[in-house]
Symmetry: C2
Subunit: 157 residues, 2 copies
Amino acid sequence: MDFAQADALNQAIRLLSLRHRARAAALIAPLGLHPGQEALLLELDRTGPRIQAQLSEALGVEPPSVTLMARKLEASGHIRRSPAPSDRRASIVELTDSGRELAERVKEVWRGLAEETVAGLPAAAAAEIPGLLAAMTANVAPRRTGPGRARAADSGG
Amino acid sequence: MDFAQADALNQAIRLLSLRHRARAAALIAPLGLHPGQEALLLELDRTGPRIQAQLSEALGVEPPSVTLMARKLEASGHIRRSPAPSDRRASIVELTDSGRELAERVKEVWRGLAEETVAGLPAAAAAEIPGLLAAMTANVAPRRTGPGRARAADSGG
DNA sequence: CACATAAGCTTATGCGCATAAGCAATTCTC
DNA sequence: GAGAATTGCTTATGCGCATAAGCTTATGTG
């Protein structure tokens, strides 16, 4: 691969990231949400109550980010946090009634965003895209040694 | 498109954004760069001197972001800023010798990142990806009325 | 030419996400 | 069962990017 191709790919990813995020932000702003929060709500809606470590894994963000996201969503009444009975370190996060309603709203705009994103593309191409993106994501994702926590493998910085 | 498909797409874009950016950050950190700065250097390397408004457009970020990025790259000696003779509001940004050397380094890691990103994908798929991403980006990009500056079309907030 | 509008840039401020560091609770190992 | 290592969460802090607001210079309009 020559530099022009490499640059086209990296730049395309960067631009799509910025634009898609900005568009998502614009769409969920009327719901009182900032980007990132919709992902937490949707994850809870998909899977039910989760502890923060699971949310961190599912959302692809670090634990401190989950702490802050959860705190804000709790403050606005969309989620509830309670200590886990089986593990007193852990915090169970679940949707409130308000959060469930909000999640439904988010799902509507989420559908609209996806359709807007692939508008004009051949259906076959659109169907392949999530898989392609996931494959690329896996390629650049930090390596996990196994069931354990991710470790910094390089000692040299 | 049902919600599951829409969600798969949006989530895939979000995750790729996070991971690709994180990987890029890890790769350019040894060069003393933070993510975003490499884009500015590469743009100058591609096109030669630009004023900040052009960089804002090319990089897909807002003018205040360019101001800060440029200030930091100037402080580290990689770019030079000088007033444009034809328009005293504008600031011409160009690479220094140090910046040109650094851009070459960036191009190397940029190639490596792209190859890592599409590793394992069929060559045909990899070749299509930049175009697909660009099409999606165009779909979610803010509408421009024409040659003029983008305007906020909604008065209602 | 005077004035209003637009364009280029900057400062101030806020949010998301990151890493570093630290505490509390759990689990592993002997 | 005691100490060590791991896990879950939090606080502190920093960077990128955004919007809001303001300054300076250019440009359009009478």
